[in-house]
Symmetry: D2
Subunit: 182 residues, 4 copies
C-alpha cells in the first residue's frame, strides 16, 4: 500500500465544471475530505478501474463528510477528448459527481492542475484531508478496501503518516495464481 | 448496503483453533474490532469471495486495532470438511489468520456459534465493535470498500446506526451491463 | 446459447475505414468467415466486453480463414463519437483490425449497415459464413468459448442450424453465487 | 498459445469413477475428442479456473463428439482429498461430468496417470484427438476462446501442428493495464 504524504494543495484550475452548478474550490471544502479521481475519458485503466472506484466513493460516503470530484486531465489526444465528448462519456457511464475539466496550458500538453500537483499520469487518486493537505497522490490502481479505510480515517480526523504495525505478508508456496506445481 | 445492528455476542464455541497458540475469546479482544468470516471450505462463494476478503482485512488492518478471525461453521458434508481437510485447505489458500472450528452440536447439523449468532449460511461476515457488540451480521457478499469503511469507523469509535444522509443511486439508462439499446 | 440463423448480408456501408488501406467488401471476403463487432466507442458494454473479444478473435484466427472487422455504428451522441475521437480510441485500446465507420443516414439516427442488418444495439456480434450468409446476429454479451467454437465450425465449412444433442444444464442447489443457505 | 503436440496416450488408471456408471477407457472413446481436466480439489487455480472451464466444455459440446472428463490427480495432502471429500466437492461445485480418481502409486506421491502422461501440476488440460493421440498437454491457465477453437478443430478432424500464419501481437504503448503515463 502506498505511503501517506503531506503536500500542500494548490486549488483546482478548471476551464469548466460538469454536474455542478458552481465552481468548487478546495477552500470551500475545508472540513471535508476531498477525493479527486484524475482521469482521461479514453484511458483504458481509468474506464475499467478509476471511474468505477470513484462512483463507489461517491455513493458510499455522505457528501457532508466526503466529496468525490472527477478531474479530466487530458495530456494527449486533446482534440478527441473535448467537452462535447466528455459530456457524452459522463452520460453513458452515469457519472453523477462533479467533474472539473483541467485547464490546458499554453505551450505544454500537461494541463494546469495535473502539473501543479505533480501527477504522473491517469488514473491518479488524490486524497485531501479536512485541513486541505494532500495525503495521497497515487498513479495507477489501488484496492477498494484500502481506499475505503483511508477515506474513513481522514474523515475521522485520523491521519497516520505511518502504519501502526508492520505489514503482514503471505509467503510464497508451490501453489500460486497459475496452479500447483509438483 | 446492509443496516448496522446492535446484537449481544455470545462467545465463540470452538472445538479447535488453527493459526493460534491460544483459544481466543471475545472478552480478551475487547477494545479491538473483531471481524469474523464464517465459512465452509467447500462453499464456492466462501472460496471465491469470503476468504479473499478476510485475507484483505487481515493484511490491511493493524492487529492492535482489528482482529480477523475465520469461523469454520460446517452445516453439511460434515465428514468431508473435517480438521485434516481444513488444515490442507488453510495451507493451500495461505490463510494465516486464526481460524476457529465451530463446535458441532448433538442432534443438529448447525454448529454451536452459528446457531447462537443466528447466521443464515456461509459466507457470513460478522463485525463486532470494541465493546463486544455485533454491529453487522451479513450473509452473502459485501463490497470491499464498504467493509473497509465500516471497520475503520468502528475502530475509531464511531458507530452510526443510520447513515448521515440518504443514499445516492444512479438512475437507469438505455445503456446497461448488457449494452446500449437503440 | 443463441440459435444460428440464415440471413442474407447486404454489404457494409462505410463512410471511412481505419486500419485498412482499402475498403473491404463482403464479396471480396467470400471464402473466409467474417466476424463483425458492431460497437460505439462510448458504450460501456462494448469497451468492457465487445472490443476485448474482437481483439481475441483477431489474434487467435489466421486472416487466411477468418477476418475480424469492427463496425462503428453510432446511433446516439453523434457529435461526441466522430472520426477524430474514434481514431484516438482505436489508438488507446490498441485496436489493430480494420474498422468501418457505419454511414449515417439522413433523417435517422440509426446508421446504414445497422439498419440494413437489423441490429438491436451495441455491442452486437455478427458472424458471416464463407458463402456470405449471416449465421449469427447477437446483441449483448456472448461467451468466448462459444464464439471460438462457432467461428471454427464455420471456418471448417460446418454450419449446424441446430445443436446435435440437447443442451445440458446444471440444476439449482442450496449453494449458489451468493453462498450456501442453511 | 501453446503449441500442439503428438503424444501417445496410455489409458487413464482410475481407482474410482464419479458421475459415471461405467469405467471409461480411451479406447472406447476413439472417434470422439476427449478433454481431460486434471485437478486437485484444494488447488486454488483449479477451483477458480480449471473447473469452470471444464463445466463450459461439458455444456458447450455435444457428447456425441466431445467428452469432458475430470481427473483428480492428488499429489499432496492425500488424506485431505479423499473420496468422501471429493464427493462433497463435486456436489457443491455442481460438477456433473465423469471424474476419475487418479490411482495412487506405492512409494510415490505422484499418481499413476499423472506420471504416465508427464503432467507438470494442476490444473492441467489434456486434449486427445479422435485417434487417441494427445495433442495438448498444458499446465496452468488457457484462454476459453483458444480452447473452444482447438476442440472444434480436432472434432472436425483438423489437427494443425503449426498455425497457418504468424501470430499477431499488439505492440506496447504508453497506456497499459496500470494506466496512461505522461
Amino acid at each position: 500500500m502506498p505511503p501517506l504524504i503531506h503536500q500542500a494543495a494548490t486549488d483546482i484550475h478548471a476551464s469548466r465544471w460538469f454536474n455542478s452548478n458552481e465552481e468548487l474550490s478546495l477552500k470551500s471544502l475545508l472540513g471535508r475530505v476531498v477525493v479527486v479521481h484524475a482521469f482521461q475519458m479514453l484511458c483504458p485503466g481509468c474506464v475499467s478501474h478509476g471511474i468505477p472506484q470513484a462512483l463507489k466513493t461517491h455513493t458510499l460516503f455522505s457528501s457532508d463528510e466526503v466529496v468525490t470530484i472527477g478531474l479530466h486531465s487530458v495530456f494527449e489526444h486533446h482534440e478527441a477528448m473535448n467537452d462535447i465528448s466528455l459530456a457524452a462519456f459522463l452520460h453513458e457511464y452515469r457519472v453523477d459527481f462533479p467533474v472539473a475539466v483541467d485547464q490546458q496550458r499554453t505551450g505544454s500538453p500537461i494541463p494546469h492542475t495535473m502539473h501543479a500537483w505533480g501527477l504522473q499520469g491517469t488514473p491518479s487518486l488524490i486524497i485531501i484531508d479536512r485541513e486541505g493537505i494532500i495525503r495521497l497522490n497515487h498513479f495507477g490502481r489501488l484496492d477498494d478496501m484500502f481506499v475505503g479505510k483511508l477515506i474513513s480515517q481522514l474523515s475521522a480526523g485520523q491521519a497516520p503518516l505511518k502504519p501502526s504495525s508492520p505489514a503482514k505478508t503471505n509467503k510464497p508456496e508451490n501453489c500460486d495464481d497459475k496452479g500447483c506445481r509438483i
